[in-house]
């Protein structure tokens, strides 16, 4: 396509160079700013993980102390949870594609959107400060459980402040997206003509808005408790540590759905495109996003089955945990049904989507065994939980992220990456990932506790396979990122390389500054391939 328009990558404002980006309220530029900052945090968090795996290669201390190990998993958690996976898909791809997919020129509050990015960066800087400052990095685990978090001498307050500030950014992004979807859909785009990625972002945004304040106030109370020795949560001061856990998980379980819902949305976009087939069960997928967001509020207790809770409460939370698996399963069945008799093309985005379904199913089904009361007691606080969590968050959200970047790359940058290298990287990632986390299920069931820097000799084999898998995954990720980086000089991509039907593929690549010359009028559904 010849350049008859001004793309968002070209400077048109009064600022030049980096300032043209830092002052831009264009949702596409803000998305890229999120992309690059989150990419850096992801690499840092990943390297911390590799250090932990190296320490665990053999029983006994290798090269870091137990205290350093505590700091490592805490910081790994804070970075990965608050700075990578929670903002990841919705702040990057939601920002970039939500307005385009609903036929809008930008989000509802463009300046607030830029402001959210600055808050995000401010929170991230505080997090970095908490690593570097005098008292040493936080060592409480990313959950900041009281009473240890009220007593630890490490930099808990900066870390908590960082989480609070990052939460504020998340709230404002969610608010922006909800208003955008309510007010700015193109004429004719009814709720049920909206593509499914915006649907998932919509459900996510509601969780961001309605769950994050709870953690905000909880973290503020924790700060007050540390400074003033109040005793909200510290039992030695008359407080209630279980209350802290309740408040923490009231946010942090829905937060898991902040991570996974947009991932499901991405997969729902990719599968019909590469099968050239209408999505199966459109309404079921759309509504199951809302169902997950809703029921997801009421399952937080399953993190606390061993903490002390009435039998009735345990039964209730366990039952609801099983209920919340139903809408997730609905989505999986619909994805598979969409593939049936489709004309499938095995391109890198589709391969990542397939890997997502496979890994997400392992993660999801092991989640049910954790949600069942009897087995939960058995594997509680073992590496089984770590493996389950990483299958969902890394195998789910992470692989969906890789799928998304391979899917939308030609649209975002107007260039195409190398398919062959992308496929090789995918295979290495898939193998490395399973080698890394699957053994942790096995040794977890055999009794390997989580968050231990040392272990009994009988777990050695499992840990070694896991560490080797970690290195393989690291190599795969390096190749993938390098390939994408090199792709910026790759062949020019056509406007619609995958023959997609949603609106983002109907405009030139990279998109023009204003997205659409004329706001489109929508007359048919988003996936009308036949």
């Amino acid at each position: 396509m010849e350049q008859k328009y001004v793309s968002y990558l070209e400077n048109t404002g009064k600022w030049k160079g980096i300032m043209a980006w830092l002052t831009s309220t264009d949702h596409k530029r803000i998305a890229l700013m999120y992309l690059f900052s989150i990419m850096v945090f992801f690499i840092v968090g990943g390297l911390l993980g590799e250090v932990m795996r190296t320490e665990l290669f053999e029983p006994g201390q290798q090269f870091i102390s137990a205290k350093t190990y505590n700091a490592l998993f805490t910081v790994h958690g804070i970075i990965m949870i608050f700075m990578v996976v929670i903002p990841g898909l919705s702040a990057i791809f939601g920002n970039f594609f939500l307005p385009i997919m609903i036929g809008a020129k930008d989000v509802a509050f463009p300046r607030l959107n830029l402001f959210s990015w600055y808050i995000f960066m401010a929170g991230s800087l505080i997090a970095v400060y908490s690593l570097a400052a005098r008292n040493g990095p936080p060592d409480t685990g990313w959950t900041f459980y009281a009473p240890y978090s009220t007593q630890s001498s490490s930099n808990v307050i900066p870390a908590i402040t960082a989480a609070f500030v990052l939460g504020f950014s998340s709230i404002l992004t969610g608010l922006n997206f909800i208003v955008t979807i309510h007010r700015m859909r193109a004429p004719g785009m009814t709720w049920f003509k909206m593509p499914l990625f915006p649907w998932s972002v919509y459900a996510t945004a509601w969780i961001q808005v309605l769950a994050t304040p709870i953690i905000g106030i909880t973290l503020l109370m924790l700060i007050a408790e540390r400074i003033f020795k109040i005793g909200f949560f510290d039992p030695a001061l008359g407080g209630d540590p279980i209350l802290y856990q309740h408040l923490f998980w009231t946010y942090s379980h829905p937060a898991v759905y902040i991570m996974i819902l947009p991932a499901m949305g991405v997969i729902t976009e990719i599968i019909p495109t590469f099968c050239q087939k209408k999505i199966f069960g459109y309404k079921a997928i759309a509504l199951s996003s809302l169902a997950i967001a809703f029921v997801g509020y009421f399952v937080w207790g399953h993190h606390m089955f061993t903490s002390g809770m009435s039998n009735t409460a345990q039964w209730f939370f366990s039952f609801l945990t099983f209920i919340v698996a139903v809408p997730s399963a609905i989505k999986v069945f619909n994805w598979v049904a969409t593939m049936y008799k489709g004309s499938i093309s095995l391109t890198p985005p589709f391969l990542y989507a397939l890997a997502f379904i496979f890994l997400f199913m392992i993660g999801g089904l092991t989640g049910l065994s954790l949600g069942a009361l009897a087995t939960n007691i058995y594997v509680h606080d073992t590496s089984y939980v770590v493996a389950h969590f990483h299958y969902i968050i890394f195998g789910g959200m992470g692989f969906a992220f890789f799928a998304a970047i391979h899917y939308w790359y030609p649209k975002m940058f107007g260039r195409m990456y190398n398919f062959r290298v992308a496929n090789i990287a995918w295979l290495i990632n898939f193998i490395g990932f399973n080698l890394l986390y699957f053994p942790q299920f096995v040794i977890g069931m055999e009794g390997m506790p989580r968050r231990y820097f040392d272990y009994l000799p009988q777990f050695t084999a499992g840990h070694q396979v896991s560490t080797i898998g970690g290195y393989i995954l690291g190599v795969g990720l390096f190749i993938m990122i390098y390939n994408l980086f090199k792709g910026r000089k790759g062949p020019i991509a056509p406007a619609n390389p995958w023959k997609g039907k949603t609106l983002e593929w109907q405009i030139p690549s990279p998109p023009p500054v204003e997205n659409f010359e004329e706001i489109p009028v929508i007359t048919h559904g988003p996936y009308d391939y036949e």
Binding site: R29, V209, G238, L247
Partner: protein, 201 residues
């Protein structure tokens, strides 16, 4: 690109404010949960500690906030009837009420500080657990609320100058409306704080 102007959407802006208000309610909701758990744990001590609060001062502040809310609501009606002058004056009344509220709070807190009652003080740490928790929650909740008063006050000052400059007028008054919504929220939270802290004796 930085100057990209979109058509203004009053409905959208209002929706945004409503959603923000939800988040504020949940923020205080977390505190109310902690309050109720602690009160059920230490009912007698909460009861006893509350007698040290000045219910008359609290009631005065309640009336002041209700009056300020009424004023800002009337200001909105005034601007819809194209009476910018009256609208501006009513916002000024709201601002004045907010300031009086803060002054009262200053004296109320000042008296507590005078007796050595402030977060982290030696006197506080020697109190029994229930008393300590009550006063901690009192300072935390009213402090966070006062912070919201200050935020609301800042918004209303901006609103006042925009009414004066004519930027807020009969056709475009969503900023005033949002400021008023936010102010009602601040009022509403106080309506719950007042009985829970001052009237449980």
């Amino acid at each position: 690109m930085s100057g990209k102007e979109l058509h203004s959407d009053a409905e959208g802006a209002k929706l945004g404010m409503w959603i923000f208000i939800f988040t504020e309610i949940l923020l205080f909701g977390g505190l109310f949960i902690v309050y109720s758990v602690m009160r059920s744990k230490y009912p007698l001590e909460f009861h006893g500690a509350a007698t040290f609060l000045n219910a008359i001062l609290g009631a005065t502040n309640t009336v002041i906030l209700l009056a300020s809310s009424a004023a800002v609501a009337m200001s909105l009606t005034a601007i819809q009837k194209n009476d910018s002058k009256l609208a501006g004056r009513l916002v000024l009344i709201t601002i004045a009420c907010a300031l009086i509220f803060l002054v009262n709070k200053y004296f109320e807190w000042g008296a507590k500080f005078h007796h050595g009652l402030y977060p982290g003080s030696d006197v506080m740490l020697e109190l029994s657990r229930g008393y300590l928790l009550f006063f901690s929650l009192y300072f935390f909740m009213t402090g966070l609320h006062a912070l919201h008063i200050i935020i609301g006050l800042t918004i209303l000052v901006v609103v006042y100058f925009k009414i004066r400059s004519g930027e807020i007028n009969q056709k475009r008054f969503v900023l005033l409306e949002n400021g008023a919504l936010y102010w009602h929220l601040v009022d509403l939270i106080w309506i719950f704080l007042f009985p829970l802290l001052y009237l449980i004796t």
